[in-house]
Amino acid sequence: MESSALARFEAVVLPHLDAAYTLARYLMRNASDADDVVQDACLRALKYFDGFRGEAGTSARAWLLTIVRNTAHTWRERHRPEALAVEFDEREHSEAIAERDPEAKETLGRALERLAPEFREVIVLRELQGLSYKEIGDVTGVPVGTVMSRLSRARARLQEALREEEVR
């Protein structure tokens, strides 16, 4: 890679590495898979970086998250066809959650884990990454109208799941 392109990659893409890793953690539901997915995604990002010019409306963050999301899906199909059935690694998640609110780990972590992947994905993109509806649509490949209804349903499910966790 040329040094100017390298500098641009480091300045434009790498600041979003934590966001990429957070998304991968929630999609893969364990740290080592997330690690691999982000590494693969960044390799792809490097490869296609020349094609990314930062056109109007395409933020580098949304661009990188799109690649992470697609990589995660491919990765799950290829390496872990059983991944969807794999139990949530609660030990691992609860450690991270415990740093913020010991009580919330009991409810929110599990409630989020119970959501279908398409719902978990929009919650993470909106609530943790702060993406606009347009950007979420770009990342997940659906129209803005679908983002709006999916996010609304995802929140309704999360509320239900939270209520059920609380009465447990």
């Binding site: 790498l14 709006m148 509320q159």
Partner: protein
């Protein structure tokens, strides 16, 4: 009665994604529909729960290094990857790091508190903001209704701060809190913006009004400060500066036409 369209619209409204025309239609509906108002309040509670409870993660330093190295060489990444199985060792490293950062943060605090008097107030405000983010400290009165939050301060303070809700602009009111800043009890109003918390501290002005707002950056937080003829305002958040200034502008506007 069920309003499936209004539910998605209300979410879009709270997310600041509705057009001005739709905002008006929806606010008209909200004013007369108890069910939708209740729906909105439940969503605001969910939002507060998410802010308090869902963690974000930091990319492990080793991963960052590998990616940087790959960019440098332009070739395939070194194939040395994290061990497949989760081990206590990999868990402890980030925890140990977090612990050492916490020590640095606390150390930083005691230094910061020795600053000159003018800066002491900013430190004070920031400390209150940070404390408010700890579980269970954010609000004394949890309500998105300005007409609930404002009267709550009656009898608790010797002044009555103006309370506005900017949900239509994507900054919903989450509640209020009594705080202690600069040697006096003050009103703290809490707003949300996606996963970010904004604290607004208000107390009666003791100096003349300022033209613009004063900006400070501390420990990753932005602070905006201004004085009107009546009140001194401090606004603190980890929100991006542009959005925080947008919020401050809304607040100043609302206050100037009060």
């Amino acid at each position: 009665m069920s309003h499936p369209n209004f539910e998605a619209q209300l979410d879009a409204y709270l997310d600041g994604e509705l057009t001005a025309g739709d905002v008006r239609t929806l606010e008209t509906h909200l004013a007369q529909c108890v069910e939708c108002t209740r729906f909105r309040d439940r969503r605001l509670e969910l939002r507060a729960a998410i802010v308090a409870g869902i963690p974000t993660f930091q990319a492990p330093p080793a991963l960052r290094d590998r990616i940087r190295a790959a960019a440098r060489t332009g070739s395939a990444l070194e194939t040395k990857r994290a061990p497949r199985r989760f081990t206590m060792r990999t868990l402890w490293r980030p925890l140990a790091l977090a612990a050492s950062l916490a020590v640095v943060a606390i150390g930083g605090w005691s230094l910061a508190l020795q600053h000159v008097a003018g800066e002491a107030l900013a430190d004070n405000v920031l400390a209150s903001h940070v404390r408010s983010l700890m579980p269970g400290h954010l609000t004394d009165v949890l309500s998105s209704d300005q007409h609930t939050v404002k009267p709550w301060f009656n009898g608790r303070l010797d002044y009555s701060p103006s309370v506005y809700d900017f949900a239509g602009r994507g900054y919903p009111l989450l509640g209020g809190r009594l705080d202690y800043v600069g040697g006096r009890p003050v009103a703290a109003l809490v707003y949300g913006r996606r996963q970010h918390v904004i604290n607004v501290f208000v107390w009666p002005a003791t100096s003349g009004p300022t033209d613009g707002s004063n900006k400070r950056d501390r420990q990753g937080y932005h602070m905006l400060h201004w004085t009107t003829p009546d009140y001194t305002y401090w606004v603190v958040s980890d929100l991006g500066l542009a959005e925080l200034q947008d919020f401050a502008q809304l607040l100043r506007q609302a206050d100037s036409i009060r």
